[in-house]
Symmetry: C2
Amino acid sequence: MSIHTFLGRFLSKYLGRPSLNTRIFSRLQPLDLSWKQKAKSTFSEPNQIHSVDEKGNRPMNNLNKYTNRTYTCGELGKENVGELVSIMGWLEYQRMDKFLVLRDAYGETQLIISDEDTSTKELLKTLPLESIMEVRGTVSLRPKNMVNENQSTGEIEVKVENLIVVNKVLDELPFNIRSFQKAKESLRMRYRYLDLRFSQMQRNLRVRSELLMKMREFLINNHFIDVETPTLFKATPGGAQEFIVPTRFPGQFYSLVQSPQQFKQMLMAGAIDRYFQIARCYRDEGTRPDRQPEFTQLDIELSFTSVEDILNLIEDLFQYCWPKFSNPIPYKFQRMSYAHAIENYGCDKPDIRFDHKIRNCTHLLKSNETVSTDHEFGAYYISFPKEYAISSRRLKESMSSLSKSFSRLKFVQSIINSREEWVKIMGSLLTVPTAERILDDNELENGSVLFLAYGNKGEVLQLLGKIRLEYVNFLENSGIFVRKKGMHFLWIVDFPMFEMSETTKCLQSAHHPFTAPNINDVTFLQTDPLKVRALAYDLILNGQEVGGGSIRIHDPSLQKIVLDVLKIDSKTVQHILNMLGSGCPPHGGIALGLDRLLHILMNTNSIRDVIAFPKNFEGRDPVSGAPSSISDRDKKLYHIKVVDSDMDI
Amino acid sequence: MSIHTFLGRFLSKYLGRPSLNTRIFSRLQPLDLSWKQKAKSTFSEPNQIHSVDEKGNRPMNNLNKYTNRTYTCGELGKENVGELVSIMGWLEYQRMDKFLVLRDAYGETQLIISDEDTSTKELLKTLPLESIMEVRGTVSLRPKNMVNENQSTGEIEVKVENLIVVNKVLDELPFNIRSFQKAKESLRMRYRYLDLRFSQMQRNLRVRSELLMKMREFLINNHFIDVETPTLFKATPGGAQEFIVPTRFPGQFYSLVQSPQQFKQMLMAGAIDRYFQIARCYRDEGTRPDRQPEFTQLDIELSFTSVEDILNLIEDLFQYCWPKFSNPIPYKFQRMSYAHAIENYGCDKPDIRFDHKIRNCTHLLKSNETVSTDHEFGAYYISFPKEYAISSRRLKESMSSLSKSFSRLKFVQSIINSREEWVKIMGSLLTVPTAERILDDNELENGSVLFLAYGNKGEVLQLLGKIRLEYVNFLENSGIFVRKKGMHFLWIVDFPMFEMSETTKCLQSAHHPFTAPNINDVTFLQTDPLKVRALAYDLILNGQEVGGGSIRIHDPSLQKIVLDVLKIDSKTVQHILNMLGSGCPPHGGIALGLDRLLHILMNTNSIRDVIAFPKNFEGRDPVSGAPSSISDRDKKLYHIKVVDSDMDI
């Protein structure tokens, strides 16, 4: 009894099913590859299935090295006609049990079954799409009227001499691999191994791999050293959003690092003076859309450097690694101070793909208001010309609803139909002279739309910044307006060193406690800390933050002063103070968020489309269902008990 | 009042200390770099400080790009004499406040302070070694009798024109950066940022970075795609040694992956048919020396492949990436079956750098023994010739103590002084004819040392395998014996599919449950599973395992059979079964343990010397003291309570 026969019986008995593909083990047997020798007589090296492309193109043969195929499904052409080939892939399509399309990651190839080959025709009758096949056959030209110019293999077809079903699809698949039938995202994520077969997902992951490699190449060429730093580290005191990991020591936990910040500074003290790492980082933000509990950043740090040097480094890096298929990017990126960004765009990551900045009219309204002492008063507006003035109730409501979260502000939105009408309506609110002056000072035309807000200056700018984006989104979705195309990088510099926490009303670091102050502002560290600018910078791409960094404090005395300003007990970072006092060079660095960068580069709907196995918006793994319960043995090993969060601990 | 003066007062007041280095902020000020232009007039690009090496060597200038220095401390030579340069680094040495040595990661440069420069001389009087300095000065030739040929910069010195103390060492350092005064490992690890300054640690990390990059290059050139897979995943049911991570969902935990196994198989089903990743993996093995809770592996998987292909791939990879400073390695690695390794070396990772194999003499002793039914009987010995026969009590005791953990075996160790004496002594144990036959059959000379064991065959081989290594370690430490030099790679193939767990007495996977069986042995899957060989392979280097992998099961029916043999509930890996049934190509892969590989390559005392920030043998981070306690807020957030492990849960 042959193994195959045995196995057929064995499996059908075992699974209680009458029929099963008896060829399932065929790929496990050593293939007789002597026919490959016939197919090409120029083989020299044992592993080199076919020789370098005669046309001098990048040879594709490496793609088939270490496999049982001679070609991918994307590479056969006229020049292969007459050749005996072996190709493998997924059954994408079949018609009349005669014409098949075999697909792999690299393309599709059309197969023809000869009319005499009844056994293969019989096999195909019950073979589901997406089954894995191995095909041997001879390449032949397609009839002229069958040539498909949109297909890389559109001039040829393969006349099948031998077809093996290597792995049959068992049950009906939850969705087809047809781009015009895109499934819902939740289903795509649950069956990610199917979703990855779509060419767009293939492309996203392949571009990701290529971009990361180019980044490494640039940095290695510039003598940066790739150092892997731990992810199991000490819980930061008071550090929020850190996952914890129980250990076999009762009551003692690692935390998963949010970034390699402390380690990279220690590398600088350790004379690894040019460091990089494509680092996995962890942040528990609960359920926030478009955030992932684990994410990847390109982490860079170097010694004896300056803000200018680091900005240059990153510009050179992008120049080197930016893919050719995307829009070209400039050698130097635009720069903007934090203060300018807030004053003109109402946020620290301005979208500069369109103008329509926020305008200051504080001088016109100041006299109208009883100025409060607990905040700086400001009056600002943003306007759009006649052609962008939309009378849409939905739009108006959406703007009003934005303003509602700033309840202490006065907010006006209006289309200026005529000067007279506007002054009449607005006069009651602003006084007639002020309403007139706003029109006069700002050269507002009839037909313009105007959003005006006044009150707490910070909040006014924040509101108008949101309105600017929301209004343009609406215009763009309505087809009335188009943002500038391309990739618009922007540096934001001169960030404040500290900010007032809205929840605790205490000072906190705008970047992190190891960021160096601007030397010109050091005198304000204790007298007026909110005035101190940091040597920190963010990189913005098309209105989204894709990176940020700073020059770090290298002097332990200054570090202690900053910790004291922040009311952080310096004992909790004593190892950092010791490190700074042990001979630590001045240093600085940056981290680029690669997931978001790729999301913008590939213009995907969400960050999840550039990640192979993303978590969903709840932080769950849709494939395996993680997180899940654990065994009592584990609970015992790690000395923990699960409790209701409302209970006392 | 200048900032510096202010700051001096401010800091001294703040810290209550009378004097502090007032120059600590000097590096934060923009440097006047116009003098750089004078130093070299050929600057063309703004970032290119000096042009390509005239000698045609690899240009070093990239090392100084994006920094404030013009040269490293390792690159100045005769050709720079007369040049005004800027170098930065650690004060390594000083004599008479006049001769200094400045060190950075790339070398040392000698500095000379002019006798007139009394202020710098004064400064140096109290400056501790390892402080960071920035020096500007002119390169000049050393007097002939002062040339140091062992130093890359030994022909020159820099006459100091300006010296700034950038960061002064504050307290006495726990150890000096002097290679002849190596500190204890616990101290080195606690102050890792000091330890990294040693040239050996610098070299280890730099070679690591280079080797990993070469591996990536090879794989990318062969069209493998670098895909990052999640580390937060589902707890494997019954999976031991997995760290768990509590989430905001009460009672639900992620686990940290032990390897990307499931993800890489899903990539194969998803048509990412050539995958690699330098992956962080996690394993909680409690306190085991030379193991790390997190470690790095080069993870590879490809579709439509075979054992032969994967072995070729790895051989080609090593050929490409192996550093030139190490011993060359062969194009093809030796191969050995698991059975052969066990029979001849008593273990599955034989050290083939010396011979002295284990010999079978079962046929001579079998008749002597009442053969037990619960195991296979075996009698084996290992011998060393006269020149390696050591009469050492300590050695003899150490061998005896090894044998004590195999209490059911009979074990004999003896030097054969003369045939007569040996037969006399052994005759009582083995019977005289058997004792004689052992000598005759095995051509043992007078003066040889012999270790003989019999009983349970598996245990006999295990014991003699340990004795083989231990004895040779002793010989080598005594200077009597030397193992073959160089790097000896070895493939172990034909592993068993299953093994009997010693603790549970149940079948378990020798590799993992997704490993494919050898087609020739499939018939034994249910009848005699221990007889089934797997398509699994390990890579051994100098007697240590540095990698392992297998061809995986691609057929869902076969996977279910294997799960049933292992008594694993297939529901727990239903997503894998679904994936295999969705059109999954045949595939296989391998993972290489990079920490151990580098440890062997760099010939370090421990695996910790090739890791930037290793945990100690207890799994603690010596720098920060992690793991540590967490806040009540965190416990509440993650719904856990710390309990005494003896309590009921």
